[in-house]
Structures are given as structure tokens and as C-alpha cells.
């Protein structure tokens, strides 16, 4: 068999992840510390796990409706109204997906024609570009800047728009920068987009993890509701990564098309996870607060730590990452991460892995224990001293 001939060119063209090797290396190390993985370090709250277990005990092991359990869609609808002032009808406007990732994938698949351009602010989560390419689209990367607190500006957006622009991915709160977009920032973006036929794909998976101010969804900005698809999920807010459950909300014309595709590719999101998620939506607000408070303390500790070691560090206001600038060391971000890992067994991720604009930065995740964060900072101090 000639497998190379078998594989399609677009898949072969997807570059290998710039993150993986750090985990492979760290695996074999005794006493290694990972600030690399972007995953909550909390267990799913017990009452949510219990609801999942209870559903199994009752024998709820069949497919659910394609779009998801109606109780869950009602709960998601109520949650979005309560937390973000968004109005989505349980029937027709909400689709439960296998993680937020499936929501992103479905949205892109449903809209892209060959040659269509998708604007992707970077540094950002690594999936948007490869998925766009997979569906014959062209990713158009727009670098956000530290001096703008890694927000997308109206000027940058306007400059990236062409007649082929089909969509804008809005990844805020942002992995890896921790940047967020406030209401005024979104108003400016909305001003550019109103009157166009460009869809906003708003990846709001970190919406519950903002510090100092509440997340604002662009769908709540006048004139944007009809041109926005909101992608969200349970992984980050409720520490439910392994349950693989997310949702996508938007105009019924789009959600209907996605549901069609979803029913062929997936059928329905995992049933046990959906029952657990009803409990999360209805009784989980307190869990979110407790976890956010915990992350917030670690965030301040890590940012203070980087700054006291002389690294510039933009204050992240969302997600659970810090994105310190390492240019002062004279190293590239890959060199920095390679050498830091080799010398001190601490894994952080090069900013360059997150697209244009990431060079000169590294991503350190603070979803780790205080002990590990403290030790990582000690080792960083030692490492920085060897560079002097």
C-alpha cells in the first residue's frame, strides 16, 4: 500500500504541533514540572459527577436527540441568559457538541467554500488555521500585540478584510495570551462588521474565567446577534475536559445546517455527559466562582513572580495562562523553552507555537498547584541567572 498517496494533501500539509515534544521530553524526567498543559487541575465537582453516575444507574445509555437533551438545551438557554444576557431558543438555536472543538469544526465546515478567507487573530489556540485549510479555506492571520493587551483592534480587522472574507474567529478570553475584549473593544469590531456578510465565530470557552471584569459576548452587541455563532462548553468552566461536551448557539439557519452535519458525523453528544451537564448548568455557579477565585490567586502569584524576575508580563485578564515576554534573555521562544526544560525540567510552551505574533513570548499555565508554581519560579530564577 502506498499510504502517502492515500492521504490527502491537505492533511499532510498540517504541520505537527509545536507543543508535543515538550511533553514527550518531560515524560521521561524525574521531578519535572509542567506548566504546559492547558487543562484545569481540579476534578469535576462531585455533584456533577454524581449526576452522571445517577444517569447510568437509571440506565440512560441511549442516544439523545441529535441536538442534545431538551432539558439540557433549556438549561443552556437559561444559563446564557443569566450569565451573559444572551437569548437563544432551546429548540433550533442550541446544539450540544463533542466539546467546543466540534462546534468550531462544524461552524467552519458549514460555511467555507474553496478560497474563502477566515480571519484569525493570533497568538491563539492552534486549531483554527488547520481546520480552515482542511475545508479548502485560507486562514488570514492577524497579529495582536502586547501593547494593545493582545486585543484585536478595528484597524487591524479592517485591514485584513477582503471580498473573500467569510468569517472572523474571535478567540477571547484568549489562549495563550490571557487577553480579553471588553464591551468597548467589541463595539469597535462590531462597527466594522455591521452591514457585511461576515460571520463571527466567537470561541468563548474561557468566558467564565475572567478576572476583574465579566466576559462580554459579541453576540450581545447591537447588530451582532444575527452574524455571530457562539461556541462554548463545559471543559474549562466546570473542569469537565474529559466529558467532551460543548455547545454552539446562533441563528437557526446556521445551527440547523450544523445539526444536519452533526447527526451524520457524531449522532449525538455523549449521553452521560449531557445528564451531568444539566446539573452543572443548574447548580454549578458556585463551583465556577470557587475555581475562578483559586485561579485568580495563582495568576497574581505567577505574574508577580515573572515580573520580580525581570520578565515583562502583560497582566492576563482571562483564561488560565500567563504570556511573559522573554526577549530580554536574547533567546527565541523555542530556544528558551528547550533550554529551560533541559536545564530545570520545567515545561512551558513557546509563543511561536500559537501563530504569528507569538515569537518572543512563552505560555505558562497556572492551572497547577501553588507548590509547583513556586518551584517553577525558583527554577526560572536559577535558569535566568545562568543566562546573564
Amino acid at each position: 500500500m502506498n499510504y502517502d498517496q492515500l492521504l490527502c494533501g491537505r492533511v499532510k500539509a498540517i504541520p505537527p504541533s509545536g507543543i508535543r515534544k515538550y511533553f514527550d521530553l518531560l515524560q521521561g524526567m524525574e521531578g519535572g514540572i509542567s506548566l504546559g498543559i492547558g487543562e484545569p487541575d481540579f476534578q469535576t465537582p462531585w455533584h456533577i459527577r454524581d449526576a452522571g453516575i445517577y444517569s447510568l444507574e437509571k440506565g440512560f445509555t441511549k442516544y439523545t436527540p441529535n441536538a442534545g437533551l431538551s432539558d439540557l438545551r433549556r438549561a443552556v438557554s437559561a444559563y446564557l441568559r443569566r450569565r451573559f444576557g444572551l437569548e437563544y431558543a432551546p429548540i433550533g438555536q442550541i446544539l450540544l457538541t463533542v466539546g467546543g472543538s466540534e462546534g468550531l469544526d462544524l461552524t467552519l465546515r458549514c460555511i467555507i467554500e474553496p478560497g474563502d478567507e477566515v480571519i484569525i487573530p493570533t497568538p491563539s489556540f492552534v486549531c483554527y488555521g488547520p481546520l480552515t485549510s482542511m475545508y479548502h479555506g485560507t486562514p488570514v492571520y492577524v497579529e495582536t500585540r502586547a501593547e494593545n493587551e493582545f486585543r484585536l483592534t478595528a484597524g487591524e480587522l479592517r485591514a485584513a478584510i477582503t471580498p473573500r472574507t467569510k468569517a472572523l474567529v474571535l478567540p477571547f478570553p484568549c489562549n495563550p495570551t490571557g487577553g480579553i475584549m471588553g464591551r468597548e473593544d467589541l463595539e469597535a469590531i462590531a462597527e466594522v462588521l455591521r452591514g457585511t456578510n461576515i460571520l463571527v465565530i466567537s470561541d468563548e470557552i474561557y468566558a467564565e474565567l475572567t478576572y476583574g471584569q465579566r466576559h462580554v459576548s459579541i453576540a450581545s452587541i447591537p447588530g451582532m446577534y444575527e452574524r455571530t455563532v457562539v461556541v462554548n462548553g463545559f471543559s474549562k468552566a466546570y473542569s469537565m475536559t474529559g466529558w467532551r461536551l460543548g455547545y454552539v448557539c446562533g441563528p437557526k439557519e446556521l445551527i440547523g445546517a450544523m445539526t444536519k452535519l452533526h447527526q451524520y458525523g457524531i449522532m449525538s453528544a455523549p449521553t452521560t455527559s449531557q445528564y451531568a451537564a444539566i446539573e452543572a448548568m443548574n447548580n454549578g455557579d458556585g463551583d465556577i466562582e470557587a475555581m475562578r477565585e483559586e485561579y485568580d490567586g495563582r495568576r497574581r502569584f505567577l505574574v508577580d513572580g515573572f515580573r520580580s524576575l525581570g520578565l515583562d508580563c502583560f497582566e492576563p485578564r482571562g483564561a488560565f495562562y500567563t504570556f511573559p515576554c522573554i526577549r530580554s534573555t536574547g533567546l527565541t521562544s523555542v530556544e528558551f523553552c528547550d533550554r529551560f526544560l533541559a536545564a530545570e525540567k520545567v515545561a512551558v510552551i513557546p509563543g511561536s507555537a500559537f501563530g504569528p505574533g507569538g515569537e518572543g513570548f512563552v505560555r505558562a499555565c497556572y492551572a497547577a498547584s501553588m507548590k509547583d508554581l513556586d518551584e517553577a519560579l525558583r527554577r526560572l530564577e536559577r535558569f535566568l541567572n545562568t543566562l546573564k
Binding site: 498543559i37 492552534v126 486549531c127 490567586g297 502569584f301 501553588m370
Partner: protein
């Protein structure tokens, strides 16, 4: 933001810098506040929770229900005080309900605990009866779970 006391109750190993970051205080403020709590005996001390079952050392813990005759003037306090002075006694609580004091004793062996109860505790003046319950297995203490917990295989995560 969490209160210092809450933070320390959860994890007494936090450094001053960590406490400061977590509570939103300056390091100096956090240090002063902790010193004050210690001085005022609001923080009584710092201890590790040890799972002796995972070590070579034998350890036995018993919970003893004690009934006492309250004394004029100082109620149960005097008897309680005479009980808690013994090093073997880990905790003493005054209870509502069918008995008066809960006494938690830890010793190296069953015999050691039994001897303490029969020779020291039950002979104390004011103690009218005891009922000893040995702890067979600890599942959770101070919010910490005694493990036989299996870890999930970790998957490399793309993001």
C-alpha cells in the same frame, strides 16, 4: 479573594509571597496578619496529616464517648481539662446528646489505648462511663482523602 485564615487552613505550607498573592495583600501585610493570628491564638499551630497506615509504624485511633458528672461552678471544663492533659489524647469535644465528651485517643497499639481507657480515663473523678470505638479505616480527614485512588492515564492535550 480568599481570607488568610481560609487559605492557611487549606494549605499551611503556603509561603508569605503566595499568601500575599492569593489574598491580594502585600507580603508585609500578610506577614503581620499571620503573626497577629498566631499571637492571638487564632492560629493554634500547623501540623501535617499523616497516613500512618502507609508507613511501618503501627498506629491505633479510638473515639471514646465519655459521660461525666458536671461540677458546680465549672461544669464540664474541669473534667475535660484533666482529660486533655494526657499526651495520648488527640482531641476532646463537649457534645450535645446522649453522652458528654468525645475523646479521641491515638496510640501505638490496641493495648496501649485500652490501658489508657481502663486505667487513666475511667478512673478519673467525675467520669461515670466510657464507650470505646476503635477506628478501623480512615477515609477522609480535614478534607484530605486517604488514597487508594487510581490516577487516570494522562492524555497529551493539544492546547
Amino acid at each position: 479573594m480568599k481570607q488568610l485564615l481560609q487559605l492557611l487552613e487549606d494549605d499551611a505550607t503556603l509561603t508569605t509571597a503566595q499568601l500575599a498573592a492569593l489574598s491580594g495583600m502585600s507580603e508585609e501585610e500578610a506577614k503581620t496578619a499571620v503573626a497577629r493570628y498566631e499571637k492571638d491564638k487564632i492560629i493554634l499551630g500547623y501540623k501535617a496529616i499523616v497516613d500512618w497506615d502507609r508507613t511501618e509504624r503501627e498506629a491505633v485511633t479510638a473515639l471514646i464517648e465519655v459521660q461525666v458528672t458536671p461540677q458546680r461552678g465549672n461544669g464540664f471544663d474541669r473534667v475535660a481539662e484533666r482529660i486533655y492533659q494526657y499526651d495520648e489524647v488527640e482531641s476532646v469535644y463537649l457534645m450535645s446528646g446522649a453522652f458528654d465528651l468525645t475523646v479521641i485517643i491515638s496510640g501505638r497499639t490496641l493495648k496501649e489505648v485500652a490501658t489508657f481507657v481502663s486505667q487513666k480515663l475511667s478512673t478519673l473523678e467525675g467520669v461515670t462511663s466510657t464507650a470505646t470505638h476503635f477506628i478501623l479505616k480512615k477515609y477522609k480527614e480535614k478534607h484530605l482523602i486517604f488514597p487508594a485512588r487510581e490516577e487516570q492515564e494522562e492524555r497529551f492535550v493539544l492546547e
